[in-house]
Amino acid sequence: MHRKTVAELAAALRAGEVSSRELTEALLQRIEQLDPQLNSLITVTREQALAAAERADARLQAGDGGPLTGVPLVHKDIFCTAGVTTTCGSRMLAEFVAPYDATVVERLAAAGAVMLGKANMDEFAMGSSNETSYFGPVRNPWDLDAVPGGSSGGSAAAVAACLVPAATATDTGGSIRQPAALTGVCGLKPTYGRVSRYGMIAFASSLDQGGPIARTAEDLALLLGAMAGFDSRDSTSVDRVVPEYTEGLNRSIKGLRVGVPTQFFGPGLADDVRSRIEAALEVLAGEGAELHEVELPNMELALPAYYVIAPAEASSNLARYDGVRYGHRCAEPQGLEDLYKRTRAEGFGEEVKRRVLVGTYALSAGYYDAYYRKAQQIRRLVAEDFQRVLERVDVIAGPTSPTPAFNIGERVDDPVQMYLSDIYTLAVNLAGLPGLSIPAGFSRGRPVGLQLIGGYFEEARLLNVAHKYQQVTDWHRQVPEGFE
């Protein structure tokens, strides 16, 4: 049962082959047995989960359940959950309990999904390996010595290990797609504004976007349908009809124009990853897609621009953690400065501090024009590059990450190497476009992800292409040893 996809579980639940309570109990037991190896969850909400499962069963029996009713999932611990701790992977919020649900949590609960717990993550979503979490690193189910990627490493690992069929996640520079690629699952970062950010703890507000992680493109479609839509509580969410994402999944991709940017295949791309991605592109071509070489000339500027904008916004977003109202507070502060200094020195980890410092510097008087303003100009250029290409092709395809999962500890002392892990994903956030990653094979036993990027609000097309790919490949059906 644990290997079933969301779509398969939905059918089984509705057919009465299994109850949500049985499913929930089975997965909770599986979590108890297997998660100690992975550390993918920070909190397991057994009691709430069983209660929610029973409510879902009642709905199913009454015949008013939807495709997610009774389906278990976990939320990245960045989404606020009323009455359940939301840590954001930080000591700062280790005991924080919000009095409200994030819109994503609320919508999935309304659809009848059953939350089993809160997934581990890089602290405040800052990281590409899940090693910056205050709650310890997450291990990759494909190789316990490897990182699962980040920042949504817990969500990705839990889905890859079949602890849950689906998870929520967030993506600021690749935090859904990169861990999905590194753990061999599917992850979708929607268009900026497609999914409400209300109740989703901010890292970099103009880049953050919530989305689903699951094992098939079809499941992503089901989840996105429930998560997406306008929310009056988020002024940046877009008031636009949410299409029926599952409807167009089977459409033929014959004649689909696929842009392959040369900049995604330059130096730094591991040979194995290159060959897997080239093979995947051939599969798409075999389905009738046309491959076109395209140029994204400002790609190489995306990383430095991102590492000005994201830290700048983060330095401001994280100012609220001051020990005054909630969260960690140092013991016996001697005055205001001491309260601020020790609270924040103790509450934040190294990577968070690094980015707060970088961001504060970039916004400082005298440096704003040289850094922040310049970065915003580059951001526009990057977005224009994509726009130009997307006038000629329907989707852009390439690797999600330049290498497969690296080993735990391998890059912790080298932030730049760590940042390069997101070299192909963060430009998509700068442009606000939708992007997804699906499994496309392995490199020495570690998964490789294919990234698809589309035009604004063209999630349905990305899901269609991904689904067609998954109809003729079985990379997404692979389960890591020890988690079958």
Partner: protein, 479 residues
């Protein structure tokens, strides 16, 4: 040396919305600490601001009233600094693209004439909470009820040349925002707050001197006192060979002096950047037209109309239109009086304002209604009562005795206008004072007033003074 003072004001107007600028929490004053602060006001993780549309309408209304350009696409920015009563660690404000751009306000000068004061800009922002340093045994309490209250900061050009002009501008603005019903104007509760930038320079110099910024000027009186003190301080400093330091100074109300708060070097670097949680604020022509239709008659227009429509002196018109409430009171009273504008104006400006002042009452709590005052004026005009008697009636009405006619009847204040009755009183007085008659007729004309007084006294103040005058003259001079 002759010195010239240059003053510019930054006025924070609390907009009179029911809910906060970025959340649905109430803005009412005086609630228990932290009872009017929702997760958004508390800056909790993950919550987001949503702009209150009413705030925008109010700011547009102000902009239209002072002839500003309404920026079609203005931008909110974050002003970053740490303080315990600033929950998010930043204030959402507007920085390089404010909603209201330019404009002007005319003030009346004391020596007559008027002067135009330029308005640089007005922008929207949220208020912070309050830090309470007393009653917490050396700790600081934080009350976030005020956090997120909508403010409009109105920045003037450095166009004022004296504390008097500054106060005149401030009063003018205060009246305007109340006319527009966008601010309750309550200075004690902090609904209307003023900071002043002030510098001095030798007369004739065109460059500006180094300025200081004065904070905590929360009454018209404080503004004048603080500015006067600061002018002297700056002049003394320069004349004794020193230099003015650019700094922020706090006005100490008790000692009447200003004190350095922080110098330019110590000033925060606010690290402004566009607020990514809010889209740029777009105001289209339709909204502007809608708001324009809600604009009331403005103080200057009303003053002009009072001069022409009621034939009032400019001074009266100015006093009566100082607030919308007083102007409305006056107009209702005039209408009730049967159109006797000047007499009504006199009563409003002397009796009514004096009584309000004496009892420390707001017009809204005035025990005498415009209808009552209007009727009283009508009774004077139709000679039912004398002016003297009317003062007694007013006093009684103030004390709650009821409508003017009831008071007049109850107190027997109805004026005697029967010539026969008055003549009888005159005859009596003349009979009793033969000596004075002789003196009067011998040329001591001052005694005429004595006779009038005697007659009035004999009538218990009820005789019509004009009639007494006329009849007495006839009797004394004619016979």
């Amino acid at each position: 040396m002759q010195w010239e003072t240059v003053i510019g004001l930054e006025i924070h107007v609390q907009l009179a919305t029911r809910s906060k600028i970025f959340s649905g929490a109430a803005t009412a004053y005086g609630a228990e600490p932290n009872r009017q602060a929702c997760p958004i006001d508390l800056g909790m993780p993950g919550v987001l601001p949503v702009l209150n549309a009413e705030v925008v309408r109010m700011a547009v209304k102000f902009g239209l009233a002072v002839g500003s350009r309404i920026t079609p696409r203005s931008v909110f920015a974050r002003k970053n600094y740490f303080y315990p009563d600033l929950p998010k660690g930043y204030q959402i404000s507007q920085y390089d693209l404010p909603l209201v751009d330019g404009g002007a306000l005319d003030i009346e000068l004391e020596g007559g004439g008027s002067k135009r004061i330029g308005i640089t800009r007005a922008h929207l922002e949220e208020d912070a909470g309050k830090s309470l340093h007393e009653d917490f045994h050396g700790m600081t309490g934080v009350d976030l009820n005020r956090a997120g209250t909508p403010l409009m900061e109105i920045v003037s050009e450095p166009d004022m040349r004296s504390p008097q002009e500054a106060v005149a501008y401030m009063k003018k603005l205060h009246a305007l925002v109340r006319y527009l019903e966008i601010c309750d104007g309550n200075m004690q509760e902090g609904s209307f707050r003023c900071d002043a930038n002030i510098s001095v320079r030798p007369r004739g110099e065109t460059r500006l001197g180094t300025r200081t910024e004065l904070k905590n000027l929360n009454s018209f009186r404080f503004v004048e006192r603080a500015l006067n003190y600061e002018i002297e301080r700056q002049i003394d400093l320069i004349e004794s060979g020193g230099e003015v330091v650019q700094e922020t100074r706090l006005f100490d109300v008790d000692q009447g002096i200003t004190r350095s708060m922080r110098t330019k070097e110590e000033a925060n670097d606010y690290r402004y950047f566009p607020e990514p949680d809010l889209l740029p604020l777009e105001v289209d022509a339709r909204l502007i037209d809608q708001v324009r239709e809600t604009l009331p008659e403005l103080p200057d227009e009303k003053r002009q109309r009072f001069i022409t429509e009621y034939a009032l002196p400019a001074y009266d018109a100015g006093v009566l239109t100082a607030t919308r409430e007083l102007a409305d009171f006056f107009e209702s009273a005039v209408s009730e009086s049967g159109g006797y504008a000047k007499r009504t104006a006199n009563w409003v400006m002397s009796e009514l304002l004096a009584y309000l002042n004496k009892d420390g009452l707001e017009l809204a709590a005035c025990p005498v209604t415009p209808e009552m005052l209007g009727k009283l004026v009508a009774r004077i005009e139709d000679e039912t009562i004398s002016g003297r008697g009317a003062k007694d009636v007013f006093e009684a009405m103030w004390a709650g005795a009821g409508e003017p006619d009831e008071v007049i009847a109850a107190k027997g204040l109805k004026q005697v206008t029967d010539s026969g009755a008055i003549e009888a009183l005159i005859d009596e007085v003349l009979t009793n004072n033969p000596q004075q008659i002789e003196q009067y007729r011998a040329g001591k004309e001052k005694l005429f007033g004595f006779f009038v007084g005697q007659v009035m006294k004999a009538s218990a103040g009820k005789a019509n003074p004009q009639q007494v005058n006329d009849l007495l003259k006839q009797k004394l001079d004619g016979s």
